[in-house]
Amino acid sequence: MSDREEILQQINVIFRKGLNKPELEMNEATSADHVPEWDSLNHALLMVRVQGHFQVKFSIAELVQLKTIGDLCDLVEAKMKRS
């Protein structure tokens, strides 16, 4: 499994737990439009959990750009390379 696939898998685990949706399966194209529970409130909490899990920090400017799970994987990947 590539690093990228590993990140996607771990993000899936975080979202399943955070949204209490054990059956949730997201791919890189998944966005909040596809997951009804992924609202503003849960978004903030999920981002805190993703940052904590990968030991990275996102800025507001970076978070504003995120539209899909693929964007989130890009951001995590870039941050981990820099750290």
Binding site: P36, S40, L41, N42, H43, A44, V48, I60, V64
Partner: protein, 500 residues
């Protein structure tokens, strides 16, 4: 004509080159807005002559704001209808308000309601120059709030109420000028939105919207920075969502923050003040039934903040209003005693709810000298300090405020029972570690895949439960009543586990 409407229509002419709206990267000048108002008015005047209330698609779009002003210029009231609402809810709203016309941006329908797209209205702009005679008792808008009986409650606010509110607003000391940039975040169905656009246009200022392509809290932070917003009107929970980023936020151009719709925590207010060091911060309070807000408290910078158990005071009522604290026996409470806040005065809806069935228990008659005065019962528990400041202490009923929206927990239970008539349900809230309120629904019913989906379809988005807990039966205590302590413990545990 209503003084506030007269004043805004005057601004449309006198500030004609200035920007009135900045929405979706499009700037609309006061002159452009006036042209559009006249065009819509030209249509409404003959076509809807017998319709005192006009439905308006609840969308941040320049045509919609022109529609609101066109209604007001004719002495008509507007009723915001959200395209995101369940169709059955919108149908019920239209029936209650007897709406025959719904002005829309481009869609021909909202759910099952037939819309009249504003862009397709006739292009003639020569509206009648006659100023209609508007009685101050005529309705300026109707907002629908969550109802404990399971159905939305229509709150009619008159032009007289609106005029009283603007007089009150000017006495709070909140000052706006034509140079201001006022951020509009909330849906038009929430009266916080009036605080943004009404007060901005009274001053000849510009209203800025936020980008809707991402979460509201992030887009708000982005808009404050990019548009150099000077006046922010929002709910505390939005700032709470941003709080982990406060260290990177700096808004030197923000001169006023108005926080409303929820209890404001002192710690959050102080932390936000660091992000906007030049801004005056007001905690404002008021039920929809009393026209936007009735109390205001400016957080002092040189002395300690007045608060109760960490919640910032809501301050004093506007001078034209009378606010009292009443005990469960109807007795007026003395300084420091907790009771229900009741309000009387020209901002309180005059005729009661649109459906009189909701009036029961909502008003209290209090003897004042020779006369009896009708007070609106807010359902909020407060106490008053020696300086006359009111302090929020909680609710007297089953209502909660979720991200500024008023939610009757019984409405959620009612809708759940409509889907699963044999099930038993209980709705409650739990606070997460980050200080945010989550809605939890307990379901003593068989878990089926489509239940949650159906429930979401039958409730507006702000009423969707964040968590569902399925049980064989709801826990009860020995007398058969629900074990509320246990249910709250389970809800807290669920929220802690989900976001640990």
């Amino acid at each position: 004509m209503s003084k506030v409407v007269q004043r805004i229509l005057h601004q449309l002419s006198s500030h004609h080159r200035a920007a009135a709206l900045h929405l979706n990267n499009k700037v609309t000048s006061y002159a452009d807005l006036k042209t559009q108002v006249d065009r819509i008015r030209h249509y409404l005047e003959p076509a809807c002559a017998e319709q005192p209330l006009i439905g308006i698609e609840s969308t941040h779009h320049e045509d919609i704001f022109a529609g609101i002003l066109a209604c007001w210029s004719l002495g008509k009231g507007f009723v915001p209808i959200s395209p995101g609402n369940p169709a059955a809810r919108n149908r019920r709203i239209a029936e209650q308000a007897n709406i025959k016309t719904v002005l829309t941006v481009s869609e021909r329908s909202i759910g099952t309601l037939q819309g009249s797209p504003i862009s397709e209205l006739p292009n003639k702009v020569e509206a009648s120059s006659d100023t209609p005679i508007v009685n101050s008792g005529q309705i300026a808008y109707v907002l629908f709030t969550s109802g404990s009986s399971g159905f939305p409650k229509g709150v009619p606010i008159s032009f007289g109420n609106l005029d009283a509110f603007t007089r009150s607003f000017e006495q709070t000391g909140i000052t706006l000028s034509a140079a201001d940039r006022v951020l509009l975040i909330s849906d038009l169905g929430f009266d916080m939105s009036l605080l943004s656009y009404l007060t901005a246009w009274m001053a000849g200022a510009c209203v800025y919207g936020i980008d809707t392509s991402g979460p509201k809290y992030l887009m708000t932070a982005h808009a404050l920075d990019v548009h150099k917003i000077s006046v922010l009107v929002t709910v505390p929970s939005l700032l709470q969502l941003l709080s982990s980023h406060f260290h990177e936020l700096h808004y030197p151009h923000l001169h006023t923050t108005l926080l409303c719709g929820e209890a404001l925590r002192e710690r959050l207010a102080l932390a936000w003040s660091q992000c906007a060091p030049s801004a005056r911060l007001f905690n404002i309070y008021g039920p929809t039934e009393c026209t936007v807000f009735t109390h205001a408290y400016e957080l002092p910078t040189t002395k300690s903040i007045t608060s109760f158990q960490g919640v910032v005071s809501i301050g004093k009522p506007h001078p034209e209003l009378t606010a009292k604290v009443i005990g469960s026996d109807g007795r007026a409470m003395t300084c420091g005693e907790v009771g229900e806040l009741v309000i009387h005065g020209p901002q309180v809806m005059e005729q009661g709810y649109l459906d009189p069935v909701h009036n029961e228990g909502s008003f209290l008659s209090i003897r004042d000298g020779e006369a009896s005065k009708s007070y609106y019962r807010t359902g909020d528990l407060v106490r008053q300090d020696a300086e006359g400041n009111f302090l929020y202490c909680g609710r007297a009923d089953n209502q909660v405020q979720l991200q500024g929206h008023r939610v009757e927990l019984n409405e959620i239970i009612y809708q759940a029972q409509q889907i699963k008539p044999t099930g038993a349900f209980h709705a409650t809230t739990a606070v997460s570690a980050s200080g945010l309120l989550h809605l939890v629904l307990f379901c003593a019913a068989q878990r089926t895949e489509d239940f949650e989906q159906h429930l979401r379809q039958s409730l507006p988005e702000y009423m969707h439960p964040h968590s569902f807990i399925y049980l064989d039966e709801l826990p009860s205590i020995s007398n058969g009543k629900l074990d509320l302590v246990e249910l709250e413990r389970m809800a807290r545990k669920r929220i802690e586990t989900s976001h640990a």
